[in-house]
Symmetry: C2
Subunit: 354 residues, 2 copies
């Protein structure tokens, strides 16, 4: 089983890689090769030395010949330009999200057309495919039959890719699957250019002793999933057998991964409960209409019938999401949490371009 | 008002051109220039000599510089590879339908970005965007909020273009509108490579004294519109003012043009009623699974609320559709119709590659 993970050194790529190396099997076969493709490969990346891991650094579209130099069984396509980037630079988003995905699908198709295995292509789509069009407001509860009318370039690009994947699958070029990711919270590390980035920032920054800004009205309801649940969802959609039986993947529609629906106010209350008043006090509410327009257009409540049929379930509570973050990233927590005796980590300096 | 019609010498392009030259206005302004773009321009095309008409012959994508050499106010984009072509040659369909439409949108965007007028771009989409996915069967009545799950490459390409147009409109690059055409019947002239072509052929060929094959079970229900109603619909969507008032175009969703729903058996009965037993007897039923799979996946019943709000209505009856064809194309009718005294035209030889 030769597996490719695009965006393999991104936050989710690393979590997925760790999970695959821990399991050592996928779809019932041993993981023989795990090829991580990414434009940015950190200098210190211990996973790159793992005997099963191979790294291809560069622009995915330019490196497809290398990626498909040997037969690929599974591609998990995580690489993507994020929402705010695509909004500020339309052409960048079209190239990174639409053209690159199409080129990836064509490379996979060329492999099967040449008599090689038909690659299983798993696409990480997004809740951002949905949006509230004035003429087509979203229903109170969204499911896979709800018409996506994206209100962002990112959402449109994801939606178009979903349809390419459905069609390449219908024609037998690939075995494509689509998992629509909820907003993944709490993302570790530095802030990124996603419009939803603050949903991690308002938890992550205070826990590391840093101030954070909440750019939306705290009454806003959002659909979240922890990194653990998200990786679980991607793996489940990857492994699902096609069919119409229980636990099988029927048809070619995307699967909305399970969502925990909370208000931003509930998130901040949870932070206060877990980390205390002083930590929660590091968050300042300062609504930004540009962020509210994007994030506010996404649905918050989902009927997760399809995901549940695959055995997936949402996080139990936002508190469990925060506690999982603390458990998985102790190095990022520099405040002393009530009820714990472990010394906090050293305060983190903000990374990235700020 | 400088208007571009792509596919301007196709069957609908010619009807639209005639309508525009007869009206002489569009969107309340005089038609100053009508630029017809097409790969194929017939040798004898009197319209090409009309003082308001300009012809650009060639591949649309390669001729965009010429098309946008002077400011364009309205583009009606009819040019398209048809369904059966796209099914038999995937790359051709992607290039002709997706890449060309995107290039057209980018050319229109370049005009507005350079300070020129923001072109109104009217895209002729299709009922083929809908399809019956096993996991998402179509509801008995389809409307604009029904999730399109295309079951053909052609339908997927049309659906993707619809979403590009919605997004280019949201961003203010163009003023895009989408009219989803029903199967247009009766098309004059030679058969084309559309899977739905037989729906015209089973009327047109017998009326010209030629045999015809019906490749579907006559119980199949289909959604049709006459060329007259279709041109009327395209013009109405083109002219509609954006807004949420009565008769205005709200949001960025496509408009399903009104449909007349009939069974193929009812179509054949109408032919018998209009033209007599001998003419109806020229049709042989011989189901072809490939055609049934494509045409049978399209919905047949529509709730045409949006179209009616724009003042559009379906054809009164299939008989009115057939009689309009006879009226508009007397040269193509070579059988004597009961109740008429006019001599029939000379029998037509089949054109095209057959």
């Amino acid at each position: 089983m030769r597996i490719v993970v695009t965006g393999g050194f991104g936050f989710l790529g690393r979590k997925l890689t760790d999970a695959l190396l821990a399991r050592r099997t996928l779809c019932g076969a041993p993981v023989e090769r795990l090829l991580l493709v990414d434009r940015y490969v950190p200098a210190a990346a211990p996973v790159a030395d793992h005997p099963l891991v191979e790294v291809v650094q560069g622009d995915l579209r330019e490196r497809l010949d290398d990626v498909f130099a040997r037969p690929v069984d599974v591609v998990v396509h995580l690489a993507s330009a994020v929402s705010a980037e695509c909004e500020s630079d339309f052409d960048l988003g079209m190239a990174a999200n639409l053209d690159t995905t199409r080129a990836l699908l064509d490379a996979a198709r060329a492999q099967s057309a040449a008599g090689g295995p038909t690659p299983r292509v798993v696409f990480s789509s997004s809740v951002a495919v949905y949006g509230s069009d004035p003429a087509a407001p979203l229903p109170p509860v969204v499911d896979e039959w709800t018409l996506p009318a994206p209100q962002s370039s990112y959402g449109m690009q994801k939606r178009v890719c979903e349809q390419l994947i459905a069609e390449y699958t219908r024609r037998g070029f690939v075995d494509g699957r689509v998992a629509r990711l909820m907003t993944v919270v709490v993302r570790p590390g530095a802030p990124n250019a996603a419009a939803s980035g603050f949903l991690s920032g308002i938890i992550r920054e205070p826990l590391s002793g840093l101030p954070a800004t909440c750019p939306v009205d705290p009454g806003l309801r959002v659909a979240l999933a922890s990194p653990r649940r998200t990786v679980e969802g991607i793996l489940r959609v990857t492994e699902a057998v096609r069919g119409s039986g229980p636990g099988e993947l029927e048809g070619r529609l995307p699967v909305n991964l399970p969502a925990l629906t909370v208000t931003v106010a509930e998130m901040l209350d949870t932070l206060r409960r877990v980390a205390g008043d002083a930590v929660a006090g590091l968050v300042t509410v300062a609504p930004d209409p540009a962020v509210e327009a994007i994030v506010g257009s996404w649905p918050a409540s989902f009927a997760d019938t399809c995901a549940r049929a695959l055995g997936l379930r949402p996080d139990d509570s936002f508190e469990s999401v925060v506690r999982a973050y603390v458990e998985d990233h102790p190095e990022a927590v520099s405040v002393r949490l009530p009820g714990t005796s472990a010394p906090p980590a050293a305060p983190r300096r903000p990374e990235g371009a700020g």
